[in-house]
């Protein structure tokens, strides 16, 4: 894929803004590192959400503030919330997502890479709903939505919904289901950049 110099699809902030719209009022949410951190800035006014982020920093070690009603807890409790199924929703980044929901987001498996996993494996194993925010393709233009992940997995069949610069896509038993297109993007444009079957938006019969 060539870079035409024309900006197509959503910016990183717009992707975060779009995902934030789908976070239900009253949810306990964990935000991953990168674009997911930006989601916190876009929770609609009036929606009350309690962040499960760990002096006063988030998971990306960026400084954050507390809101009235916040609580501090130690790390084993933090992950008991996660492992014990008490967190409603998690927003994570991705290297690859497969059409069966497999997620790879911690390692490219390159022999010279320093492996680092953080809490990603705990989150996908313990949180009920996993949202993924990612660019649709890598900087080189390779699709990140694939039939089968080639990178080491973070978890099997865990992703529920994917927010990219081009579209919102659900992971269903039948594979990737297009839910919403970004402005100026059509089905063919997204399908060409998706390395797995992409079910079109269901039209009224």
């Amino acid at each position: 894929m060539t870079d035409t110099g024309v900006s197509i699809g959503l910016s990183r902030d717009e992707m975060a803004q779009r995902a934030a719209l789908d976070i239900p009022d009253g949810s306990y949410v964990n935000l991953g590192i990168g674009i997911p951190e930006r989601v916190a800035s876009y929770i609609p006014e009036g929606r009350e959400v309690i962040y499960g982020d760990p002096e006063l920093i988030n998971a990306g070690k960026r400084q954050v503030t507390t809101v009235p009603g916040a609580a501090f807890f130690h790390h084993a409790d933090s992950f008991a919330m996660i492992r014990g199924g008490h967190i409603d929703l998690c927003v994570l980044g991705a290297l690859q997502v497969a059409s069966n929901g497999d997620l790879a987001n911690w390692s490219t498996g390159a022999p010279d890479a320093i492996p680092a996993v953080g809490g990603a494996m705990d989150l996908v194993a313990g949180v009920k709903t996993i949202y993924v925010i990612t660019q649709h393709c890598t900087r080189r233009g390779d699709p990140k939505l694939v039939e089968r992940c080639t990178y080491p997995l973070t978890g099997q069949a865990v992703a529920d919904r994917i927010y990219t610069d081009l579209a919102v896509i659900d992971v269903t038993p039948d594979g990737f289901q297009l839910v919403e297109l970004s402005p100026g993007v059509d089905y063919d444009y997204v399908a060409e950049r998706t390395a797995a079957k992409l079910l079109p938006i269901a039209t009224d019969k």
């Binding site: 790390h75 008991a80 494996m121």
Partner: protein, 236 residues
């Protein structure tokens, strides 16, 4: 009369021996006991196994301990952080061992170790490369892997206030791994911005009960890793 206070960080770490397993609190710089780590560098113990979520940044604190060649093995979840170059260089040249543990599993292994639980099952890492070599078992149709409790010879932690009985309270998210590390070490050493007389901490508000803490040392104005890194400091 119980008095666990020690005059200086230097005096608090004198008995840490070569080859010891040292649990070091902190998530990045939050909660990192920099003054105790620097005292350990000056003390000279080597061949250490260090448990921390990360591997430090710049050339101060934990990164300086690693750079000084005192650490044989790191047990951590995320050895890559901004300004983290010391560990990657040593790891790439095969001069330091890494045991990579998912963050929640790391916290629970330490908690279990401190609670006398030798092992537990978790669904974290099932179906991933980090499952390799672990026993798998199925409960109610779901797969889990066996993880072992983790203990240390020493824990070095940072808190906001301690009393001379070793009761501790922390500062915001600097709490992170410290309460479970205090439980899991044979000898727990806490640096505190304030060391108070017994009764000055509200018993209802104590986070780590003094039974888990052996030594407290006052570090009235603790340094922050990011500030030292920004100043270009390299310890020692």
């Amino acid at each position: 009369m119980i008095d666990k206070s020690i005059a200086t960080p230097e005096a608090a770490v004198t008995d840490i021996f070569d080859g010891a397993t040292v649990l070091i609190g902190g998530f990045g710089e939050a909660g990192s006991p920099i003054e105790l780590i620097h005292a350990l560098i000056d003390q000279g113990a080597s061949g250490l196994t260090v448990v921390n979520n990360n591997t430090g940044s710049g050339e101060v604190g934990l990164a300086a301990l690693i750079k000084a060649g005192r650490v044989a093995k790191m047990i951590c979840s995320y050895p890559r952080t901004a300004n983290s170059t010391v560990f990657p260089e040593l790891y790439s040249s095969g001069r330091i061992e890494l045991e990579l543990v998912p963050q929640g599993t790391l916290a629970e292994r330490i908690r279990a170790g401190g609670a006398g639980v030798p092992a537990f099952y978790t669904a974290t890492s099932v179906g991933t490369p980090l499952e390799e070599g672990k026993e798998r078992r199925t409960f109610d149709g779901r797969h889990y892997v066996l993880e072992h409790g983790l203990t240390g010879d020493f824990a070095l932690i940072k808190c906001q206030a301690a009393d001379t009985h070793g009761n501790l309270v922390y500062n915001k998210t600097a709490r992170n791994f410290s309460p479970v590390m205090a439980m899991a070490a044979e000898t727990t050493i806490a640096q505190a911005s304030q060391v108070l007389a017994p009764g000055q901490l509200d018993p209802e508000s104590v986070v780590t009960p003094g039974i888990f803490v052996d030594r407290v040392v006052a570090v009235t104005h603790p340094a922050y890793e990011s500030e030292l890194v920004a100043q270009g400091m390299s310890y020692p």
